[in-house]
């Protein structure tokens, strides 16, 4: 009840933070997909690159988010760009790995059939491998998005805005309502993103029906 009252009083500010949060999540995941999907495709063509690339992405994944922000601040300064960069780094691994795994998981017999019909490598990728791997690739983007909603909350610690602003302010002044005012919308956003991807998957992904 107190939460409802809080949002009623601070609707303008709250909406602004939700907007900042969305921008962080959409831009970072979008950029990570734009880089990560082609990178995953390259890994299926250059097997030697796979251990270093996936290894490096995995190492970044293990760095705690606050520490990663700390590392990046000297480069990108305080605020938006550091947060975006960190979010991209976190989103890359699931996207690259799932793209690679999805394409590698396409039945070799189907791939050979495509080649046997005279497909070039680009045609094989566009007509066979990407459509058949779409479910796995999309699942990677989905995980990256949901994780990104969570990590973006920490962005408030370095002045990148977003719903974390309420969380950190609430922690500082020991106010449960303020913490929940940040945490609940963030959780709802993660659920909504997850649901959106479920819908997208049903629309986009071919499946034996």
């Amino acid at each position: 009840m107190r939460l409802v009252a809080f949002f009623a009083r601070n609707a303008h500010e709250a909406l602004g933070l939700v907007g900042q949060h969305l921008v962080l999540v959409v831009l970072s995941t979008g950029a990570a997909a734009l880089v990560g999907i082609p990178l995953g495709v390259v890994l299926t063509r250059r097997p030697a690159w796979r251990p270093p690339v996936l290894g490096l992405a995995g190492v970044f994944q293990t760095i705690p988010s606050l520490a990663l922000f700390g590392i990046l601040i000297p480069i990108f300064g305080i605020g938006f760009w550091t947060a975006i960069t960190a979010l991209i780094v976190y989103a890359l691994l699931p996207i690259v790995r799932n793209t690679y795994t999805g394409i590698a998981g396409v039945d070799p017999a189907i791939r050979e059939a495509g080649r046997g019909m005279g497909m070039t490598d680009a045609e094989l990728l566009r007509l066979v491998e990407l459509p058949l791997a779409a479910a796995v690739i999309l699942a990677g983007v989905r995980v990256a998005t949901v994780v990104s909603v969570g990590v973006a909350t920490i962005g408030a610690a370095i002045g990148a805005g977003g719903l974390g602003v309420y969380v950190f302010r609430g922690v500082a002044v020991v106010d449960d309502t303020l913490i929940l005012a940040g945490a609940i919308p963030a959780a709802l956003m993660a659920l909504a993103a997850d649901g959106l991807f479920a819908l997208l998957e049903r629309r986009l992904v071919w499946r034996a029906r």
């Binding site: 050979e112 059939a113 046997g116 019909m117 005279g118 058949l132």
Partner: protein
């Protein structure tokens, strides 16, 4: 009769694995030569692992020959782009050859699409082909491969191989995974089709009865070599022990 396919001294070896084995090679196909003319069906008969399928893949360059040369319609395949070569060779594969996410019509029209035919021409060609292999284009065109029976899938596979009207067809155990009755029906229909199409065909099978029924000539492969090459009648009369073993198994 002009040769649609000429295979001369074809060989394929796999490099030995591991550093200790350098120089040692494992031959898969050795010194295979034959020609196939228009309207002719050469059946490559042999046990599993005898090099039949490998020979087919050396013809359409899914595998690169180690020695020897292949000529399709008089052109050396080594001098051609592999993709354009394969679009000029119909290829029928056992069981999983259809793209699961393509409809029957999309599968049958695949090579014309790769060749960038206009859509109306592809659609017309697909209707013609499906009718040719005994599938009603209206009823089947929009279905997916998993909605078809094994026999229907193989019909689509044959339609797809014929789509761009290639002079040469390679068939890799096309009826291998079918139940005996469907297999018999398709064999009979295929036999009728052979005469009408006038293509050169290489048909791989391990079934000697299928080979004798469909082949104008039989090539028996054993351990990567072509042991015997001749007409079905010559095959029946041949005294080679491997030939006798195959005939006894029939």
């Amino acid at each position: 009769m002009s040769a649609v396919l000429e295979v001369r001294g074809l060989g394929y070896t796999l490099p030995g694995r591991g550093t200790g084995e350098e120089g040692r090679v494992l031959p898969i196909v050795r010194d295979v030569s034959f020609t196939v003319g228009a309207g002719e069906t050469l059946v490559l008969l042999g046990r599993s692992g005898s090099g039949k399928t490998t020979t087919l893949k050396l013809i359409n360059r899914l595998l690169e020959p180690s020695v020897g040369e292949v000529l399709v319609a008089g052109q050396r395949t080594a001098a051609l782009e592999p993709t354009s070569l394969r679009r000029r060779i119909g290829y029928v594969i056992q069981e999983v050859g259809l793209l699961p996410h393509f409809t029957v019509a999309e599968n049958a029209g695949l090579v014309p699409r790769l060749e960038r035919w206009p859509p109306e021409r592809i659609a017309a060609r697909v209707r013609e082909l499906l009718a040719l292999v005994g599938l009603d284009p209206e009823a089947f065109g929009g279905r997916y491969p998993h909605q078809l029976s094994g026999g229907q899938r193989q019909r689509v596979g044959v339609a797809r191989a014929l789509a761009a009207d290639p002079p040469l067809l390679l068939l890799d155990e096309p009826f291998g995974a079918l139940d005996p009755i469907t297999r018999f029906e398709l064999q009979q229909e295929f036999r009728a089709l052979e005469g009408r199409l006038g293509k050169g065909m290489v048909f791989v099978t391990h079934d000697v009865r299928e080979g004798l029924l469909l082949g104008t000539r039989i090539g028996l492969m054993h351990a990567g070599r072509l042991l015997f090459l001749g007409t079905p009648d010559e095959f029946r009369r041949n005294e080679h022990p491997e030939v006798r073993r195959f005939l006894e198994a029939a």
